[in-house]
Structure formats: C-alpha cells, structure tokens
C-alpha cells in the first residue's frame, strides 16, 4: 500500500476541486481594482487561497505516514440520506403525514434489527404529533395530505 495520509490527501483534493469550481463560476465576473473591487475580486482571491491550502494538504498528505480514512458506515449513511430524500419527495407529492411515516420507516432501517411494524406505528405517532404541533400549534402552512 501507498505511504499516504489519506485524510490529508482527501481534504486537499476536496479543496482543489472546490477552488476549481469557484474559478469556473467566477470566471465571467469583473475583478476591478483594489480601490474599486468588482464582484469577482474577493471570491477569486478566496479561491486562490483555497487552492493553495488544497495543494499544501495534498503534498503533506503524500509526505506523511500512512493514515487510512476510517471506513464509512454505509448502512446508516444510506438510510438517513434516503430518509431525507423520501421526506422531500413525499412532502411535495402527498403532504406532511405521508412524508413523516415514510421518513421514520426508512430512517429506522439504519440499525438492526429492523422492527417494521413498530416503525410504522412510530411513524404514525410522529406524523400525528408533527401535524398537531406544527400545523395546529404553530400554524405553519403545510399540506397534511
């Protein structure tokens, strides 16, 4: 295996990518002069700094002793992100109650064992609670279903 500090290396790569995106997005903005800055001046200056940091971390990452990135926990990661995505989709299509039940059930799949019936029941309770608190109580303009 390579002798690479993968944490530093990954952070450096992230910063370089971000700086390049920023350069791309600010390319058409006027830079102006120091006395009369255009909208592009500060963002481009910051992007240069980020690029500098990125290159530095990339190099130090290569020079340092090997340090792996701890393996991500795929199951909670996927379940939680899917749960939020499902909430967004269901909320737009079917309203708050469906979104609450769906999000609770999918989020619950993050840990094992998954007790589906319990989760559905809990989702219904959460939906009722949210509807009462946010729509009835705080008067937020949410579609319930």
């Amino acid at each position: 295996m390579l002798r690479v500090d993968f944490k530093d290396f990954a952070f450096g790569t992230f910063l370089i990518a971000l700086a390049l995106i920023a350069f791309g997005a600010t390319g058409s903005l006027a830079i102006g002069t120091a006395a009369d800055m255009g909208p592009g001046f500060v963002p481009r200056a910051l992007a240069w700094m980020i690029l500098g940091f990125g290159v530095t971390f990339l190099i130090t990452g290569l020079a340092k002793a090997r340090a792996p990135i701890p393996a991500p926990a795929w199951r909670p990661l996927a379940a939680i992100l899917a749960s939020i995505a499902l909430f967004a989709v269901l909320f737009a299509k079917l309203g708050l109650i469906a979104a609450c039940v769906g999000a609770v059930v999918v989020a619950g799949a993050a840990t094992s064992p998954v007790r589906w019936l319990q989760l559905v029941a809990f989702g219904v309770v959460m939906a009722a609670f949210s509807a009462l608190l946010f729509v009835k109580g705080l008067g937020l303009p949410f579609r319930l279903w």
């Binding site: 944490k7 530093d8 990954a10 952070f11 992230f14 910063l15 971000l18 920023a22 997005a25 600010t26 903005l29 006027a30 002069t33 120091a34 006395a35 009369d36 800055m37 909208p39 592009g40 500060v42 963002p43 910051l46 700094m49 980020i50 940091f53 990125g54 530095t56 971390f57 990135i69 701890p70 991500p72 926990a73 909670p76 939680i80 992100l81 749960s83 939020i84 995505a85 909430f87 967004a88 909320f91 737009a92 979104a99 609450c100 999000a103 609770v104 989020a107 619950g108 993050a110 840990t111 989760l119 809990f122 989702g123 959460m126 949210s130 946010f134 705080l138 008067g139 937020l140 303009p141």
Partner: protein, 499 residues
C-alpha cells in the same frame, strides 16, 4: 446607575408572561437534549430556529439561549448518573461525578452540580452586563477598517481554541467565507456562483447548512457506534449535599466560575474548553491530588461552574460586537437576522429591551433550572433510558421539517441532505466543521467591510496597519497564529484537549 437601569429594563422585558414561558420552554428543551446523548444543543437550536420566526425577537433569543445553558445542566446529570456525558462540556464531570454516584453520593453530586451552575450563571450574568456597555461603546467607533480586523481576529481566535489541526481549521474558514458569498452581490447586483439556481440568489440558507453539517452528519456518526449505558443501580435518595461536600465545593465553585467567565468571553470560547481548564486547575492546587478520579466533589463543582459560566459569557462578543465565538453563537446571529436585526454594537442602543431582556432572562432561566430541575431529576433519569434507535427517526423528521419551514422551500431540504453528506465526509477525514460555519456567517460582513475599507483607503492595503485599533487587533491575530506554531504551546493544547 446606568447598569441598574439597564438590568431593570431587562428584568421588565424578561418577566412578561410570554417571555417567562419561552424561557421556561428553552431551559426545559435544553435540559432534555442535554440529558440525551446524541442530540447536541447545536442541532436543537438549528432545528428550532425556523420556528422562532413568528416570535418577537426577544422571545426568540431568550428561548434559544435557554436551550444552550439548559443543556449544560442536563448534560451533567447524564455524566454523573450514567457516565455518559450528554455534551462535550461535561466530559470531565464524568470522572469524579460518576465515582461519587458509585459511592452512593449521586444526590450530593447532582445538587452540587446544580448549585455550582446556578452560582456561575448568576456571576456570569453580572459579568455580561458589566462588560457589554464598554465593549459596545468601543465598537461603535469602528469604521470598516477596524471591523475587518476584528472579524479576522474573531475567526483566528476560534481556530486557536478549536479542536484539531489549525491549518485545516483556517482552510475551513476560507471555504466558509467563500460559500457565504454565494448569491447576488449587493454592490453590483450580479449573481455570483449561483449556477443559475434561483433558490440561492439570496445566498445559501444558513439553517439547512447548520442542520446538515451538525444534526444529520453527527446522527450518522452516532449510529455507527454502539450505544451502551451503565446505570448506577442505587436510587437517588438524598438531594441535600453534606456539610463537608459543601465546604469543599464552595471555593472550587468560585474558581471554576472565574475560569469559565474568562475563557467564555475569548474568541472561540464556549462551554467546551472551560471545564477542562477548571479541572486541571483544581487538580494542580489541591492539597491531595490523589483524591481526584475517586469522587472528589471539587472535580464536579469546578467544571460544572466553568461550563455554565463559559456558555453564558460567550454571548458577550456575539451580542456586543456581532462576532460569534462558536457555532452556536453563529446560529444566534442567524436568529437575529431572520428577525431582520443586523447584529453588532448598535443592537444595544437600538434595541435595549432585546439586549438586556436576553441577559436578564439568563439569570431567571438559571433560577428556573435549579428550582424545577432538581425535583424533576427522576423524570430526566427515566428519559435516559430512551434508546437511541427511537430517537433518531424522530430527529430526522424534525430536522427535515425545520429545514423546510425556514423558507417553505424543498430546495433547502436537498441542501440539508447534501451538507449532511459533506459533514459526514468531514468527520471521516477528521476536519472540524465549526470554523466553516463561523466563516460562512461572517463572510458577507467581511467582504462588504473589506471592500468599503479599500474604497476609503483608495486601494492601499497598509490602511489596516496605519489605524491604531486595527493594527492592535491584527497584532493580536498575528500573535495567536505565532502561538500555534510554537511547539511548546502546541503540545500543551493537545494535552489539554486529550485529558
């Protein structure tokens, strides 16, 4: 006396029945999330921020502040009884507090922790009141030049006291500032880095970012660790501390309050660092240091006083200068902004009832905590038994509703999801997200003042060193940076963090 007039105004504001109610709600929610490991006050404040939109500004801030210091109380309960700190601020309380509980002195430890917190809260309220007037008066004289230097000092100060590698923290600040600039440029009216997405013309939403980075990412991280809790079997019978415990705790309480008040005001201050320093101090000056770790009451009293004092005095830079010293204060700034209030020294003169009301509410809130919480300890203990696998689906739902409701925008939900993923990546590569958030909040202010300063000075960068106040602020910033490079200090900093 102006001070007493101000405090009277504050008490009058804080003691209206609505504000008392919101203060009560804040400290109760705070205690709840403090007790429960896995939900930080930061996540809670971020989740609840959108719902404060409809409240009066003073009520909103009073409630959010209550969550912060209420969490310090709840956290120590979990630390003493279960040996699991609810928050980082009570990690040290575990050491001696849990030992006391094992020896059957849980009641005494809980009572001393509560008394120490109340005492520290009272002193901190006075410290805030005393410091705020001169600081704000001083800051009102600032021009764009001094403001730029002050922001730089604030950001660098946060790095010194933050966890992890300083260069990475500084890089994260710059990233935060850059992302803070996304949206239509105020001076030219040109959209910047928006990629044609209309939803971010007014800037990327702060609340979805905060909930994603802290709430969602931390939740995923929590789920990969097994949640184990060891209850102390003994019942908490007696909540009255023994005379001997009180005698020993009293001076420790005073020292802890002093440490917390000082460290809390500094940039980067908050509730996390003071208890470590206070504990180290107690151990150093104790006649018999070997008692520590075996249930020494000073090891509970001093850190508990320090974290509460630090939590409260960290409001000083936020309220008087508009500079947040930690991510939670950045959220408070966000709360002010959604109320249409520009944070800064003018808040005190333009909105005195808001300013002093929040300060007075802290003392009232602390009083509520000690009166209400000690009798309720049984309820909090039973809440400790709520398993995390029941909590987190509920947190997901509240986070989602919170992120959506800030602007009734589905885009914010996707933004929260994206930043949850990015936040998890940061956790995995060992980079702290806190400096990013501070940079993000201060970014627009930094750019605006920088451009104005350059306009006044017709493009001469030396102006920052020619103005005396600005030069001093930058000199302190340079000293902080230099201090980080000195190996001796660097090593001490690491040791302090690890202890």
């Amino acid at each position: 006396m102006e001070l007493f007039d101000n405090l009277a105004l504050g008490l009058a504001t804080a003691a209206t029945w609505q504000n008392l109610l919101f203060c009560f709600a804040g400290v109760m929610i705070g205690t709840l999330v403090g007790v429960l490991p896995g939900i930080s006050p930061l996540t809670t404040v971020a989740m609840l921020l959108p719902f404060t939109f409809g409240l009066a500004p003073a009520s909103a801030l009073i409630m959010l502040a209550g969550i912060f210091y209420g969490a310090q109380y709840g956290s120590s309960t979990a630390a003493i009884l279960v040996n699991v700190p609810g928050e980082t601020s009570s990690i040290v309380t575990c050491i001696d507090g849990y030992q006391m509980a094992k020896q059957g002195r849980a009641g005494s430890a809980l009572a001393i922790a509560a008394i120490a917190s109340f005492f520290a809260g009272t002193v901190a309220t006075v410290v805030i009141a005393l410091l705020s007037l001169p600081l704000a008066a001083f800051a009102l004289k600032f021009t764009a030049v001094e403001t730029v230097s002050l922001i730089i000092l604030g950001l660098l100060g946060a790095v010194v006291l933050a966890h992890g590698s300083p260069p990475k923290a500084i890089a994260m600040i710059v990233v935060g500032v850059l992302l803070g600039l996304v949206g239509v440029d105020v001076n030219s009216g040109v959209p910047r880095m928006t990629f044609g997405i209309a939803d971010i013309n007014d800037g990327i939403g702060f609340v979805p970012i905060a909930i994603g980075l802290f709430g969602i990412a931390e939740m995923i991280h929590n789920l990969e660790r097994p949640q184990d809790r060891n209850f102390v079997g003994t019942r908490i019978s007696n909540l009255v501390p023994t005379r001997d415990d009180l005698r020993r705790a009293w001076p420790a309480m005073v020292r802890g309050t002093a440490v917390g008040s000082i460290l809390g005001v500094l940039p980067g201050g908050g509730a996390a660092l003071p208890p470590f320093s206070a504990y180290a101090l107690e151990k150093k000056i104790a006649a018999d240091p070997s008692r520590f770790g075996k249930g020494a009451i000073e090891g509970v009293a001093s850190p508990e006083a320090a974290n509460n004092a630090g939590a409260q005095t960290s409001f000083v830079p936020m309220l008087t200068l508009g500079i947040p010293s930690n991510p939670l204060m950045a959220l408070m700034i966000g709360a002010l902004m959604i109320q249409g209030i520009q944070p800064g020294p003018q808040v005190m003169t333009k909105q005195p009832e808001l300013f002093w009301g929040v300060i007075a509410s802290m003392w009232i809130g602390n009083l509520m905590l000690i009166i209400i919480n000690l009798p309720l300890i049984g309820i909090w203990v039973s809440l400790l038994r709520v398993p995390y696998h029941f909590l987190f689906p509920a947190i997901v739902v509240f986070c989602a509703i919170g992120a959506y409701s800030i602007g009734n925008s589905l885009f914010d939900l996707w933004l929260m999801l994206g930043f949850g993923l990015v936040g998890y990546f940061f956790i995995k590569i060992g980079v702290e997200p806190a400096p990013f958030v501070l940079g993000f909040v201060l970014g627009p202010m930094l750019e605006e003042n920088f451009r104005r300063a350059m306009l006044i000075a017709s493009g001469d960068f030396w102006v920052f060193l020619e103005r005396p106040i600005s030069a001093v602020l930058l000199a302190i910033s340079a000293l902080l940076l230099a201090a980080l490079l000195v190996p001796e200090i660097r090593r001490k900093r690491e040791v302090l963090k690890e202890e």
